[in-house]
């Protein structure tokens, strides 16, 4: 029999603010944190909104990481470390806890660094006749040493892992994954298996990333994931939706074996399934009390998605997408934090802005809905098509493994 694994701590740095409480408050108030896009590197009249980390939250996150390590980091990595520290605090742990063997499982977003911004100044300086001369660009970098010497580290897909392990002085099992839903699922699977096998005693799972870059956003526009029609509102599962809006941020969970946690209610991970094709995703046999599913903000896609949602027999359906935007690195981790909040509070937050649902399903609208909640399903579909389902249950009892 596999040992039950529970969420012992959570942390996040999201457009909704620093910390789980900020996210939970925004979700319950149905308050979107998506704002006017603010960057000095590009301008647009068509892509105008973004789920952006506020400067005060970035500065707060920087306090969680030594200055000498920040030179290796993208902003997203700094948020990731801060989210990990929050999750460890809630779990009552530090990275160097005597007698506790840690595992670290990280997930970064797909197109984050080196971004166009990393090279923008150099490219601009090498422009001749309206286009960058790439041989001159090469010379500036190789001969004049004009490139940030730490760019290779900032560009590493395991930069989050390397910096987090150094920040926490954490020696142990580790894995670094790429990309949204698939990466989150792989990290959670590996962490859960390591806990169940007894190789580790505490698992840190963290995702961090940003798509705030010309090339990244143009890829998302081209794929139809975000809209390029000047829209500043993201409305998942709403007939008035006119497309997606990207976001950025970080989220972290600490998992432990249920038996190692004190008595009292805990949110436990029951099962995880995946498929590259949503319609073939294996779903639980029993109806679920609450379903957390991001949606897309595109009514046509959301209506299609609803065919799968209907199969779950959920009593309540909610989404956090409108709060923070479409996240590249931690979509499932953020939804798991929302789901855990609902189970702990016995209350389902509304879908922000939802007025005209795309389907006749039990979407929560307007105000938080108190309910008796024991089982929760998180269902994610990535913008490149990959899908996953996570089952959670809430229990005061220690299961007999």
């Amino acid at each position: 029999m596999k040992k039950t694994v529970a969420i012992a701590g959570a942390g996040c740095v999201l457009p909704s603010g620093w910390g789980v409480e900020s996210f939970w408050a925004a979700a319950n108030e149905g308050r979107s944190a998506i704002t006017a896009l603010n960057t000095r590197r590009f301008h647009s009249e068509r892509v105008v909104a973004f789920g952006q980390i506020q400067d005060q939250d970035h500065q707060r996150s920087r306090q969680d990481l030594a200055q000498n390590l920040q030179r290796y980091c993208t902003p997203a990595v700094i948020w990731g470390v801060s989210a990990v520290r929050q999750a460890l605090d809630e779990a009552g742990l530090t990275g160097e806890q005597p007698g506790v063997r840690f595992g670290l499982y990280c997930c970064q977003g797909g197109y984050t660094h080196p971004s166009l911004e990393s090279y923008a100044e150099l490219l601009h300086g090498c422009r001749q006749d309206g286009v960058a001369d790439m041989a001159a660009f090469a010379k500036r970098i190789l001969q004049d040493r004009a490139q940030d010497p730490f760019l290779v580290l900032k560009g590493l897909s395991n930069c989050l892992l390397g910096v987090t392990s150094l920040a926490l002085k954490l020696v142990g099992e580790c894995n670094a994954y790429m990309q949204g839903v698939a990466g989150n699922l792989a990290a959670l699977r590996e962490a859960t298996a390591a806990l169940q096998a007894g190789r580790i005693d505490a698992a840190i799972i963290v995702g961090a990333g940003s798509e705030l870059d010309t090339l990244a956003l143009s890829g998302l526009v081209q794929a139809g994931v975000i809209s390029a029609n000047g829209s500043d509102t993201l409305l998942p599962f709403d007939l008035r939706g006119i497309g997606g809006i990207a976001g950025e941020g970080a989220a972290a969970l600490v998992l432990r074996r249920r038996e190692d946690l004190p008595a009292g209610p805990q949110t436990c991970l029951a099962d995880m399934t995946a498929h590259a094709i949503l319609a073939r995703l294996s779903l639980p046999d029993r109806p679920t009390d609450v379903l957390v599913c991001s949606g897309t903000g595109d009514p046509h896609k959301d209506r299609e998605l609803c065919q799968t949602l209907a199969r779950t027999g959920a009593s309540h359906i909610t989404s956090g997408l409108a709060i923070n935007g479409i996240l590249s690195a931690a979509p499932s981790l953020v939804d798991l934090i929302l789901a855990r909040g609902a189970l702990q509070a016995q209350q389902v937050p509304p879908i922000a802005g939802l007025q005209q649902p795309v389907a006749n399903l039990p979407f929560v609208q307007g105000a938080p809905h108190p309910a008796s909640l024991a089982h929760c399903l998180v269902l994610n579909r990535d913008d490149n098509g990959f899908s996953a389902a996570f089952q959670l249950f809430y229990s005061a009892e220690v299961p007999q493994d």
Binding site: R40, R41, F42, H43, S44, R46, V47, Q108, G110, Y111, A120, L123, H124, G130, V131, A132, M134, A135, A138, K139, I141, L142, Q147, P149, L151, V152, L153, G155, L156, S157, N158, C159, L161, G162, S165, L168, K169, L170, E173, C174, N175, A176, Y177, M178, Q179, G183, A186, R189, E190, A193, T214, L215, S218, G219, Q222, A223, H275, A276, L281, N384
Partner: protein, 424 residues
């Protein structure tokens, strides 16, 4: 619970100058290097254009075998498909086999580079260097599809093509990613979650942006007095950095039960695996080699083997001063006096450093060494000048019975991994 045995029943490979595993094994056996002058680097005026790269002739073959639309798919998808077809054929599996049972895809890959896109974007910069995103969107379509620059596209392609419904992961553990993808697949089979896995790495980073970044850190060989073929010289005193390379290798792993049910021919076994983040420094390990040693020792413990059981080590051996020294010291700690009975090989001397690709390529070469009873030579190695004479690297291929190989991959970010491979 008793861990299940994990067999290797097939593999596929593409490396610079080689379109399959047998060709690469022969190339290295004949002491030929895969490293050449990269034409793109020559065109850009690099003082040292040496690299291992998949050339246009190879790409023509790879693209011709891809069943999808080449305009809307990425090169990493074509390469993954080509190598996966080899691996499946080698294992005697139809592509429908993965959809019928619990299975997984585990692919290492780190970055895909975008210098063409950078150049295009520079056309839409204003006087302050700000890009007009709207103009860029109106005039520019990302080649290879909207997600072509995402690192997980080859994984998604394989998962969709093969109908994998269980484990699907893209491992991005820098230079350790290929080995860690194989290790994760091994563990998932050993603990009974899946019966069949396709695992390894697809890495396309022989690219100017990767070159700039690693060069900025001083990690690349810049000795232009050495020919391209001479630049990767692991464990020699005059080593001075690695040579950037690329490539892909995928292995089919199966539970013994599954392999026996379908009467598959086992090619080898994964006996053990360990990974360790060391929290030492972001680009280098402990100077005394102890962190590398801890990882190797953990892999041997996982395999249930004493160090004396290892016949041969496929080292990480990047040809940088710091890494090779740490690895040599770590090997000495793990193997003690038995080190003199063992042989060692550093495949990067011939192939260069293909980052995630290297661990997967080296796993395939290690399995071939076990199957063929041949230890591969290390190019540019001169025993009389060796800084670590206790490590018996070979100048010529050596016929020897090989039952157990330890294969190391250590990555930037402080991520280490070791794999123990054995006879079936």
């Amino acid at each position: 619970m008793q861990a299940r045995e994990v067999l290797v029943t097939g593999y596929g490979l593409v490396a610079p100058t080689a379109l399959d595993a047998a060709s690469l094994f022969t190339t290295i056996s004949k002491k030929r290097s895969c490293i050449r002058q990269h034409p793109a680097f020559v065109e850009l005026g690099f003082a040292n254009p040496a690299a291992g790269f998949v050339d246009e002739q190879q790409w023509q073959v790879i693209a011709a075998a891809f069943p999808g639309d080449l305009q809307t798919t990425s090169r990493q998808e074509w390469l993954a498909h080509y190598v996966a077809c080899q691996a499946l054929a080698h294992a005697g599996l139809a592509d429908g086999a993965f959809a019928r049972i619990a299975s997984g895809i585990f692919v290492g890959a780190n970055k895909h580079c975008v210098s063409g896109d950078l150049r295009d974007a520079s056309r839409y910069m204003d006087d302050q260097g700000r890009v007009d995103l709207d103009q860029y969107l109106d005039n520019h379509t990302l080649s290879g599809g909207a997600f072509a620059r995402r690192v997980d596209q080859q994984t998604r392609h394989l998962a969709e093509w093969l109908g994998v419904r269980d484990h699907i992961s893209t491992h991005s553990d820098a230079c350790a990613a290929g080995t860690m993808a194989i290790g994760s697949a091994y563990r998932a089979i050993a603990r009974g979650e899946i019966d069949l896995a396709l695992c390894g790495a697809v890495e396309l980073m022989a690219h100017e942006l990767s070159y700039y970044s690693f060069d900025g850190l001083g990690a690349l060989c810049q000795r232009v007095d050495f020919s391209p073929q001479e630049q990767s010289r692991p464990f020699m005193p005059d080593r001075c950095g690695f040579v950037l390379s690329e490539g892909a290798a995928l292995l089919v792993l199966e539970s013994r039960e599954h392999a026996e049910r379908r009467q598959a021919r086992p090619l080898g076994r994964v006996l053990g695996y360990a990974n360790l983040c060391e929290a030492e420094k972001i680009t280098s390990s402990s100077r005394d080699g102890s962190k590398y040693a801890a990882c190797m020792a953990a892999a041997l413990t996982d395999a249930g083997l004493a160090s004396a059981a290892v016949d041969h080590v496929n080292v990480h051996g990047t040809s940088t001063q710091a890494n090779d020294r740490c690895e040599a010291l770590g090997l000495a700690q793990v193997f003690g006096e038995t080190i003199e009975q063992m042989t060692f090989t550093a495949n990067k001397s011939a192939v260069g450093h293909s980052l995630a690709g290297s661990g997967a390529i080296e796993a395939v070469l290690s399995l071939m060494s076990i199957q063929l009873g041949v230890a591969l030579p290390t190019l540019n190695f001169q025993p009389e000048k060796s800084q670590f004479p206790e490590l018996k690297f070979l100048c010529e291929p050596l016929q020897q019975p090989i039952n157990v190989v330890l294969s190391n991959s250590f990555g930037f970010g402080g991520v280490n991994s070791s794999l123990v491979l054995g006879r079936a």
